[in-house]
Symmetry: C2
Subunit: 303 residues, 2 copies
């Protein structure tokens, strides 16, 4: 049996919780609270550091799981910890699911044919012996290699009900270098392809399970790309730490909140705690502040 | 102390062994020899399957390490096995180094800022507690996000002496979809960027440690891209299984063999053994056949 379409699951969670906020789980070791001694010391093993990372995210999940629809663990930071890091990744994904969160694996994979299929197995569908709770509901992927590199991921989504966010217009300052070249631009070509790739994966909500990554740092492009991809959910990085604010993002959502998830990593994970405040309370407060900023926008709560 | 520049290490190995052949380590489970029972059964755990994969590649490395300059493990297939797969990846990288092989990690990563730096840590430079023999000498990366996403990898290479291969023109049938769009094309823009990115990493051999992935399936483009990137070592997938033969690849090399590494995965790993022949002998024979095909080309052995 295929689970509910990812886009529909996300739609329901966003409307229930009345916000489009996504907590990015990026374990920047140097920024973790002081109580995590292994990450701040010089003598801990990678396994001890990884155990600290799991404990930290356990606290973050406890502080935010009733507030936001989804989390987005960033694979690179886990992979840097080697085998222990991948174990920590699986634990964090599992804890997130058990807390009722959707999990978007930020892995930005991309490869051809059977290799792309293996990445889909790794993160979306699993194999014999995989604990389904350690799999993601959705992952980010890179389109550079073309449609035949995306097909195996689409096939995995059709079989499993899971989703994808394709890099279209990234939030970094240098993203224009290739993404805005050509006429139509590379981003526009990829956007048109995202429409095609998602055609067979449109849910009851009207949204497709093939989404697009579009950076908060390019408000004009957000509006144009929203028009170009009307049924495509956006994943919007670059809010807060990288510059863009809530108001500038209004054109990205389309009809209502469910049109886009806005990621915040450092802003929620590593806020400055008030004197005497526990770091978990500071995390919750930071999440609530972001949520209120988006609830204050004049967007229809339901289509 | 910085190790020898990757391009120089590769140059030396290619000239010593008089061939540009690269063995791609892609564990397609269904294609492994019959003696690996866990991968063919229905009841093995992922750890048992991963142990089979390690044993298989141990045999492949024994059969080929004295013949070829380098191996290219493909991360996706290991990641599909979860934590046990990442353990197997580290073992295979370590065994390859101990056998004297250079290791090109085919990971196709790409992300921004601190995330790209974390991927460089994961695969090239390591952190406290990383066994240096489990790190790669070089990895493949994806340029879609632009120069600021490549900078952290370049920085890691400057510090460690390691190398990169950037996806320029991939071997898959759909690679034209984005890579040949625009004027100049996306591939040409990325090729020009590869020249820039490698400027500070040119070794005594005259080659840069920032290489380019250019598919064997596009002989005309190989020649044009060789002219466009004279100091850039090529990684050439798509030989054999995907179509291109040795002769068509001559224009890719430039002055001599050290200008390009030609990958073969299935052709070497899974040859049809003759009656009574051990699979390891069939693997060695397949490697020797490929090597002879390239030695027969009319290329200068030394510049």
């Amino acid at each position: 049996m295929v689970a509910m379409n990812f886009a529909d699951q996300l739609y329901r969670r966003v409307l229930e919780l009345r916000n489009p906020c996504l907590v990015g789980l990026d374990p920047h070791l140097a920024m973790l609270p002081k109580e995590f001694e292994a990450v701040h010391g010089d003598s801990a093993t990678r396994a001890e550091v990884a155990a600290n990372v799991v404990q930290f995210f356990k606290g973050v999940i406890e502080a935010t799981a009733d507030l936001v629809p989804a989390v987005k663990p960033q694979s690179a930071f886990f992979e840097a910890l080697g085998v222990a890091g991948v174990e920590a990744w699986e634990e964090v994904v599992k804890m997130s699911h058990q807390a009722g969160l959707l999990v978007i694996g930020d892995v930005k994979r991309g490869d051809i044919g059977s290799t792309a299929a293996a990445y889909a197995t790794a993160f979306l569908t699993g194999m014999r012996g995989t604990d389904p709770e350690t799999l993601c509901d959705c992952i980010t992927i890179n389109p550079y290699l073309g449609s035949d590199s995306i097909d195996p991921f689409i096939k995995a989504c059709k079989e499993s009900g899971k989703g994808l966010y394709v890099l279209v217009r990234t939030s970094n300052p240098g993203s224009h270098e290739f993404q805005l070249k050509g006429e139509p631009t590379l981003s526009e070509l990829v956007a048109d392809a995202v429409n095609r790739w998602g055609k067979g994966l449109i849910g009851e909500s009207g949204y497709s399970s093939v989404g697009a990554v579009v950076g908060a740092t390019h408000p004009t492009d957000l509006a144009a790309l929203r028009q170009r991809m009307p049924k495509v959910p956006f994943l919007i990085p670059g809010y807060g730490a990288q510059g863009g604010g809530a108001k500038e993002l209004t054109p990205a959502f389309g009809a209502h909140f469910a049109g886009g998830l806005v990621n915040s990593s450092r802003g929620i994970l590593y806020p400055k705690a008030k004197p005497g405040q526990h770091w978990k309370d500071a995390v919750r407060e930071a999440a609530l502040t972001m949520i209120e900023e988006f609830r204050a926008l004049d967007l229809k709560p339901v289509s």
